[in-house]
């Protein structure tokens, strides 16, 4: 009896040992899986970014003398940079809230019981798929001085506007931005809306809560983290709006359309590394702050709802 009992015990210990060994081997192997990606990211993103940081605090790539914040000061005093930063900020401040609110509205619309919901979802998503370059032509036609938009406004008695060459130019881009991004935001909101527990909504209806109350006290609370995510994503996307502007108007657009990326592109032309690096670093600092806010609030709100 004793012998019989002992042998399985030994085997157990053995197998546990071999499992642990396997685990350690597995750990090493999992690092092998990671290595191509990490190597690539290091070479193409991290290392050059560190060099960019270095470039932003020396006076030029040949002398390497340390000047600390001089580059930043130079860039900041640069008129083009200021214009670009101001325009980008203004654009984001207007476009992002619109993108969030309208997308939420569309998501609620599709969440209510209307016919052809899936078709509408498809329609709202299509702009996201279409490359901007294909659409730019029609945009130019629509917003031309003698174009259709002016005709429509004319019906209401407003004067003609030369859209792309006036202070209204940003409106054109905002419309294009919304057109392109609403579908994406809407899908995020729809996913969040469908994840709200149905029983809570049913109880609210039984307790004769008004739709407005249901929206503000229940839905909005469950949507809070998505709301934030959508806001940040829209903000990031709003920095990418250069693409639209470039395709519509080229490298040197009307003043109010001169964005950060224009500044970068035109500085690439002269290959002024210091300016470029300093501008990129400033931009990345803004981004890190935004992402930090995203993480902190998501932690906060996540606990609030899930707990």
């Amino acid at each position: 009896m004793k012998k019989e009992l002992k042998t399985p015990k030994k085997e157990k210990i053995k197998s546990a040992n071999s499992l642990r060994k396997k685990g350690e081997r597995g750990k090493r192997i999992s690092c092998v899986f990671l290595s191509p990606s990490i190597l690539g990211v290091l070479v193409f993103f991290v290392v050059p970014f560190l060099v960019v940081i270095y470039y932003s605090v020396v006076d030029n790539p040949i002398n390497h003398s340390f000047v600390f914040l001089d580059n930043f000061r130079n860039v900041f005093n640069n008129g083009a940079f200021r214009q670009a930063a101001f325009n980008t900020m203004k654009f984001s401040l207007i476009a992002v809230p619109l993108a969030v609110v309208l997308a939420l509205g569309l998501a609620l619309l599709l969440d209510s019981k209307i016919p052809f919901r899936s078709q509408f979802r498809t329609f709202f998503l299509t702009p996201m798929m279409v490359p901007i370059a294909s659409i730019v032509l029609i945009w130019q036609v629509l917003f031309h001085y003698n174009g259709m938009v002016n005709d429509v406004i004319g019906l209401f008695g407003a004067g003609k506007i030369d859209w792309l060459k006036s202070d209204y130019a940003q409106i054109v881009i905002i419309v294009l931005f919304l057109w392109k991004n609403l579908g994406y935001n809407m899908i995020l909101f729809m996913a969040a809306l469908s994840s709200i527990p149905k029983d809570i909504l049913e109880v609210a209806v039984l307790e004769s809560a008004k739709p407005r109350q249901i929206f503000f006290y229940i839905k909005l609370r469950y949507l809070s983290s998505t709301l934030l995510f959508v806001t940040i994503m829209s903000l990031i996307n709003s920095f990418k709006v250069f693409r639209e502007i470039y395709l519509l108007t080229g490298s040197y657009p009307y003043n109010t359309l001169y964005m950060m990326q224009h500044f970068m592109n035109n500085t690439f032309g002269s290959l002024d590394y210091q300016k470029l690096s300093a501008a990129a670093i400033m931009m990345s600092i803004v981004m890190v702050i935004l992402i930090g806010i995203l993480f902190l609030t998501e932690n906060y709100f996540g606990k609030d709802v899930e707990g």
Binding site: I29, I114, L125, M129, W139, M287
Partner: protein
């Protein structure tokens, strides 16, 4: 049910029942009105969203002379020599006077320039989609198995890199391309694209949802890491990979910033950049080219809409 019974019996409805019926009718009508209004609003937006696309497609069937007479004014920034008649007004037309395929014939058969650019787009995008997925599949398996503190930190760096706009990433990209001597070659666009952290992030998030019990079961049955990856994780991630492939494809098919800076040779530019440079003399073709450029994305959308929606949904909430 009581009120209904009394109605059916015809034995005179009680007052409270009648009030109830009235209220219900009123409520029904109100919800119907609301629903109708919602549908109308949705339809309005749908029309707004689809109009530019439909216009581009229908206009591509106009003959060149019709287009230049309709829109000539819009695109005649430089003097075109006055050969074509340019109308005072810009006529936006939904349906061409005569449906003609002349533009398509020109684009596809007579002037191979556009087809070359289209091919440029394909050759820039397809390797990025394929290899980014491959690298990401391996990496996300690495991130999913044996999680440790260091890996979490690396993953966090990936997230930050993913969220950085081009304004930030293009300068480092340009520097590396300079060191590796690949500026003005397609590698300058391929390599950063392939190692872009986007797919890694999304796929890792998905893979971490695979129950550990499944993987442990395989391990106990004697499967090695490669087998677990190949036989268990990959099949489970098929749908997610499709979603990611679509998202990457749209993103790079649309690219403008990278080729502008990294490829100074215009012969290598993709169609997306080239389209904006079509000059006044060739507007007739522009709509046809624009439509052709839309076709791949619309096809992908047609077959992969559900995957796309799923992919966007995974993105909601930044953390893994």
């Amino acid at each position: 049910m009581t009120f209904r019974k009394s109605v059916l019996k015809g034995t005179g409805t009680a007052l409270s029942d009648r009030v109830f019926i009235k209220k219900k009718k009123k409520r029904d009508r109100r919800t119907f009105e609301k629903r109708a209004l919602a549908t109308i609003i949705a339809a309005f937006f749908a029309v707004l969203f689809l109009m530019p696309i439909i216009l581009t497609v229908t206009n591509s069937f106009m003959s060149a002379s019709e287009i230049s007479s309709n829109y000539g004014q819009v695109f005649s920034t430089t003097d075109t020599g006055g050969k074509t008649y340019i109308s005072e007004k810009v006529n936006l037309k939904f349906i061409p006077d005569i449906v003609s395929f002349s533009q398509y014939i020109t684009v596809l058969l007579k002037s191979p320039d556009y087809l070359f650019k289209f091919w440029n787009s394909v050759i820039l995008v397809v390797p990025i989609v394929g290899f980014q997925l491959l690298v990401a599949a391996l990496a996300s398996y690495g991130f999913t198995r044996y999680r440790s503190r260091i890996k979490e930190i690396i993953f966090f760096v990936y997230i930050i890199l993913m969220l950085m706009p081009y304004q930030v990433t293009l300068v480092p990209n340009y520097l590396v391309s300079g060191w590796l001597n690949i500026i003005d070659t397609r590698w300058a666009i391929w390599l950063p694209g392939i190692f872009s952290p986007f797919a890694v992030y999304l796929l890792t998030k998905f893979m971490r949802r695979i129950p550990t019990s499944v993987i442990e079961a395989a391990q106990i049955d004697g499967a090695g890491e490669w087998q677990i990856f190949r036989r268990i994780c990959m099949p489970l991630c098929k749908g997610c990979m499709c979603s990611i492939a679509i998202l990457i494809f749209i993103d790079y098919w649309n690219m403008v910033e990278q080729p502008l800076i990294l490829l100074s040779d215009e012969a290598m530019h993709p169609l997306s950049v080239f389209l904006s440079k079509i000059n006044a003399g060739e507007i007739g073709l522009a709509f046809a080219v624009a439509t052709i450029y839309m076709v791949p994305t619309l096809l992908v959308f047609l077959y992969g809409e559900d995957y796309l929606v799923e992919g966007i949904t995974y993105q909601g909430g930044i953390k893994g």
